[in-house]
């Protein structure tokens, strides 16, 4: 059981949030680096996203005169909600107070809150690009969210808990088992992660074409520190999904005790897992083109079907077995 009065636990929870915010730009840089290598070019330095953030924080934030307080507040809300959502996911260790307080429903809720304000901010200034981006984002997320919940429910049914720490503990206890339900849920969640983090083939984070953008269209009017926060939040979201996928489905290495040795091991292991995931993402983004917008629903329906199959196979094959 989690000891809520243990200051080390809270300190670690804080540390985890810091690690999320500090590590997310590195993950993006890593993916970019691998992609560059796959395209036969050298690519930017691994520190480039940090330098970009620093540059943006140092710049003046230009505001449209039609902007309402929602537009001003949105970057802070989006960044805050994403960071809090990240703190719900066990990064280095399970049994942290933050991960014990909040369960997976809260995680999805925080992400939805961030998305809600992102879409509001996109529409706030009244440019057609913002509205277009917001409408596309809603189309995508309305389909992605049920698929994600379905995948996660499959896991929580196995573990009899919606708490991520408990799910991870359950997987650790059960040992390496090839469970069809987990396999389906993993595939479903992978597709959701690609859609939710705005990666190819759903959205192209590197595009400069206003008319094709989804996420970028919503933040097109932002500049300076606001833009920095929005981009940082997007980077954290990518890392969040990476950690979620790797720690739920392959949790081995995560610290179950809060001592220095196992925490260090946890750090090394999660870095390795994210590095591998980053390579997988980069390769997949290199070999496929972005899909036509109206194919995205089919893509997410597939994610939902996979998650549903996971749930069914859990009920049919695993319950009572």
């Amino acid at each position: 059981m989690v000891d809520f009065l243990n200051p080390t636990g809270w300190a670690l929870a804080l540390l985890q949030m810091l690690l999320f915010s500090a590590g997310a730009p590195l993950l993006i840089a890593w993916v970019k680096r691998i992609k560059s290598r796959l395209q036969n070019r050298r690519g930017p330095s691994l520190l480039q996203p940090y330098q970009d953030l620093r540059k943006l924080f140092g710049k003046e934030a230009v505001m449209a005169h039609t902007a309402s307080p929602v537009f001003r507040a949105a970057p802070y809300i989006v960044f805050g909600a994403t960071l809090v959502a990240a703190s719900v996911i066990p990064l280095l260790a399970i049994e942290l107070p933050t991960t014990a307080i909040a369960d997976v429903i809260v995680l999805v809720g925080f992400l939805a809150l961030a998305r809600f304000f992102l879409a509001l901010a996109g529409m706030d200034v009244g440019t057609s690009f913002g509205g277009m981006g917001a409408s596309r984002e809603m189309l995508i997320s309305a389909l992605a969210e049920p698929a994600m919940l379905m995948a996660i429910f499959t896991l929580t049914m196995s573990a009899h808990s919606t708490n991520l720490s408990s799910v991870i503990e359950h997987v650790l206890d059960a040992g390496l088992l090839l469970r069809p339900s987990f396999l389906f849920a993993l595939l479903g969640l992978l597709l959701v992660a690609v859609a939710e983090t705005g990666r190819i083939p759903v959205d192209n984070p590197a595009t400069h074409l206003e008319l094709t953008m989804v996420h970028e269209a919503m933040i097109l009017e932002y500049s300076g520190r606001h833009l920095a926060l929005m981009e940082w939040a997007a980077q954290i979201k990518l890392m969040l999904y990476g950690v979620l996928l790797s720690n739920i489905f392959l949790p081995w290495g995560i610290a179950s005790r809060l001592d220095a040795g196992s925490l260090l091991l946890g750090l090394v292991v999660i870095v390795a897992k994210l590095a591998v995931l980053g390579v997988i993402l980069a390769v997949s983004e290199t070999v496929v083109a972005k899909m036509r917008l109206f194919r995205v629903p089919a893509f997410l329906n597939l994610a939902f079907m996979l998650s549903l199959l996971g749930m069914l196979s859990h009920v049919i094959l695993e319950v009572g077995a």
């Binding site: 992609k35 190819i200 074409l209 206003e210 070999v287 972005k290 917008l293």
Partner: protein, 531 residues
């Protein structure tokens, strides 16, 4: 079929319509035939041409004394006819060709802006090129209007340019540009869409109007060639060549054969560089960055070689009136031959990868369809026309050296989508490489290897037509010299005049996020169009 054997048929038809051809000349604008008619027959001559399925290929005006002389180009199977008529300069008014030839729309509006010619029954009376920089009644290309313009303190915004309203539930407008998020030229696009599908697109161009036609006046031949090289930087060789060809014809000379071959080589180099760059860009627009990076690398190597050979990566100012500035020795020829072989191999393996990508195919096939009928009506040339069944390629028409001695097949298709336009360009890369190898052979076989330039004789009052197939398609360039042998009038018709309107039709029924790839597959020149 011999040249111009259809012309007697056209003249007979004109006679049936009681159109009087005052004089005809095969020399003045050779290789084109010049027909001089009355202003009131202007519309009839075009409708006869339309009935005979001639292609309409451009119009320009020229103020001579107090008259406005209008010239329109008609084409049949590579045979060019120039219709010409003179209007009184006071209140010039003439029938429009736009109802018959929709491609004439913007060129006629350009003339209405620049010369104050009123085209009766023109469907669109809005300004086109001049925006709000000039007052009502000011026409910058009329004699006496100052070159530096007559600027008000600050050019007012282009406000009163109404676009037709569109109504319905969920219908909305997306104004895009003129300033874009990427590093491209300025142009305004107004989409009317219902959700994602595009109902209508209206382009607004003219933001890069540089006054090329105005500042050309009074230049000498070399100065005009330099100016022509700056009409559209990506087509600098083609435009310079067209202008030089017009100048040379106006002066009654032919450039030395070796110069023509070298011009051909440079022009094919330009074609390949742009085709490869654009193939990559098309792929990048659908999120397939791998292809773009490879294409950029190939293009970069290619342009570096161009830079080594000519001193300029885009080969600007290498073509000059009377010849070329560079000669190729045996060592250069050998290097180029190796380059061609290497590019052929590299492009082949890269294009094989592209052809093998289902996700790419999914985005490009059936996207942005242009029907052969529309392409024909607009007179779209180049890869846009070729992808929609229009076999327009001046290089096969035997009009100019070195292509008079070279044979190749035009890449042609009727599928008309983005994938086809890209495929045509892939094929053209290889056919250009073959042509260039042939040209290298021609260079080697020459006995006189130094003759690359002859002085242009002064021929006051001469006029000439330059007809060059650039990588975007057919370029028509017109030059008239004044009494001192300086340029009195220059007009260059970039193929983009017809492919921009094609784009408006291509996007119909496509979704908004597919516009960039449709646009890239057409890749009209803003600068070449805005002049």
């Amino acid at each position: 079929m011999s040249r111009f054997d259809w012309l007697s048929g056209y003249l007979a038809e004109l006679e049936d319509e009681h159109v009087i051809v005052h004089s005809g000349s095969a020399q003045t604008l050779a290789p084109a035939h010049l027909l001089i008619i009355d202003p009131e027959d202007w519309g009839k001559a075009a409708s006869v041409a339309k009935n005979m399925d001639l292609r309409w290929s451009g119009i320009w005006a020229d103020e001579q004394d107090s008259d406005i002389v209008l010239s329109a180009v008609l084409v049949n199977q590579g045979d060019y006819v120039v219709l010409r008529t003179a209007l009184l300069g006071e209140q010039p008014e003439i029938a429009s060709h736009t109802p018959l030839y929709p491609g004439a729309d913007r060129m006629e509006r350009h003339l209405a802006d620049m010369f104050g010619v009123t085209f009766t029954d023109h469907p669109d009376t809005r300004r086109w090129i001049r925006h709000q920089a000039w007052q009502e009644g000011e026409h910058p290309l009329r004699a006496g209007f100052p070159v530096q313009g007559n600027p008000p303190e600050r050019t007012p915004a282009d406000a009163d340019y109404p676009s037709p309203p569109i109504q319905g539930s969920g219908v909305y407008e997306i104004p895009v540009g003129p300033v874009h998020a990427g590093i491209i030229e300025p142009g305004h696009f107004r989409f009317q869409a219902a959700g994602e599908p595009i109902l209508r697109l209206e382009e607004r161009l003219g933001y890069v109007h540089k006054g090329i036609e105005k500042i050309a006046v009074g230049r000498d031949a070399a100065g005009l060639a330099r100016l022509a090289g700056r009409i559209s930087g990506d087509s600098t060789v083609a435009h310079t060549w067209a202008a030089c060809q017009a100048l040379e014809r106006a002066s009654g000379i032919r450039p030395p054969e070796r110069a023509s071959i070298i011009r051909g080589l440079l022009s094919e180099r330009e074609r390949i560089a742009n085709h490869i760059g654009d193939i990559g860009a098309i792929c990048n627009d659908v999120g397939f960055a791998f292809a773009q990076m490879q294409c950029q690398a190939l293009r970069e190597q290619w342009q570096r070689r161009s830079g080594e050979l000519s001193g300029h990566r885009l080969m600007m100012d290498v073509v000059v009136p009377g010849g070329v500035m560079i000669n190729l020795d045996d060592a250069a020829i050998a290097t180029l031959r190796e380059d061609h072989a290497r590019l052929r191999e590299q492009a082949r393996s890269l294009f094989d990868i592209l052809d093998d990508q289902p996700s790419l195919e999914d985005r490009l096939l059936s996207t942005g369809y242009l029907s052969p009928e529309t392409a024909r009506a607009l007179g779209a040339s180049g890869y846009v026309g070729k992808a929609s069944g229009q076999a327009i390629d001046l290089r096969t028409d035997g009009l100019y050296a070195p292509y008079t001695r070279l044979r190749f097949n035009i890449a042609l298709s009727e599928s008309g989508d983005v994938a086809t336009r890209m495929g045509i360009r892939q094929e053209e890369v290889f056919s250009s490489l073959n042509l260039m190898d042939e040209m290298l052979k021609m260079l080697e076989q020459q006995t006189d290897r130094t003759d690359i330039y002859i002085e242009l004789p002064s021929r006051p009052g001469g006029e000439g037509l330059g007809l060059i197939d650039g990588w975007r398609g057919e370029i028509v360039s017109y030059v008239r010299l004044d009494d001192e042998g300086r340029v009195a009038r220059f007009f260059a018709r970039d193929p983009s005049w017809f492919t921009w309107p094609a784009l408006e039709r291509i996007v119909l029924g496509n979704i908004v996020p597919d516009f960039p790839v449709c646009n890239k597959s057409v890749n009209g020149s803003y600068s070449g169009h805005d002049l």
